[in-house]
Amino acid sequence: MPSVSDAHPLAHQFDEVEQQRRAVTLGMWAFLVNEVMFFGGLFLTYTIYRVLYPGPFHDGSHHLDPTLGTVNTVVLIASSLTMALAVWSAERGKRRPLVGFLLATLALGMVFVGIKAVEYHEKWVDHLVPGPYFVWHGPDGSHVQLFYSLYFAMTGFHALHMLIGFGLLTWLIVDALRGRFGPTYWAPVETVGLYWHFVDIVWIFLFPLLYLIGRH
């Protein structure tokens, strides 16, 4: 059975490379639609509780740092650009730019998670992590705690996706250095790119919903 590492990078069930590439892309999109539904449940929960408790969500949001949130948004969008350029390079068999753009994507992703860690630490110090040590010196603390439960659940699952992305990028970098990707075979770069952009989209919604409630 031919495998992708052989000279002919075509699995036996496909007639041609282009058909194989389209099947891979379609399969990845089926997975991403699953991911839309997974995060969709969290967004729905957020929506309902924000409708029910607008005041506590407003107050809770004011203890997040919009500057760090904005910087992280820019960092993540930049990482999406470098990822898109990595796919561009892979398809054209440009090995050195491919490795460079993948490394840049990984580095920007690490900056994002690093800033996220700083924010989590601040919340820990300020007793804003839900649980027995949660302290709120204002009205309706239990519903502010609900906001922070959603904050940690949503940004936590987002950060987990970033960490999985680091593993995928590392795998791509190793294979790119071995020269495995080129004009007839770049599907792994393309699919990891789709995954990375999806994680970017999740953040595009998380940022205004969590950080920017009632700032005026």
Binding site: T25, L44, S80, A84, R92, H197, P208
Partner: protein
Amino acid sequence: MTAPEHHGPSIGVYVGIFAVLLIGTGATVAAAYVDLGLFNNVVMLGIAVTKATLVVLYFMHVRYGPRLVWVLSAGGFAWLAILIGFTLADYLTRGPVL
């Protein structure tokens, strides 16, 4: 020998989309500090949906891909819109809850 067919946009398009996404981020933050009443949410979510659409169409190549990917991706987001839209149609029309 024919030139190889590529599947995505040019580097210029990628950089252009990146610039629009940055402008959208700036507009989102700016809009958050202006009192528009309920329209704050409309503006912020409108920009977010626009940014997400650009990422899907250009960075994720859906605009350049086969129709089947178009249907699958649009279908996923359409069902999410139904999920959230119908739930809001319930919660927003209940009157005082507690």
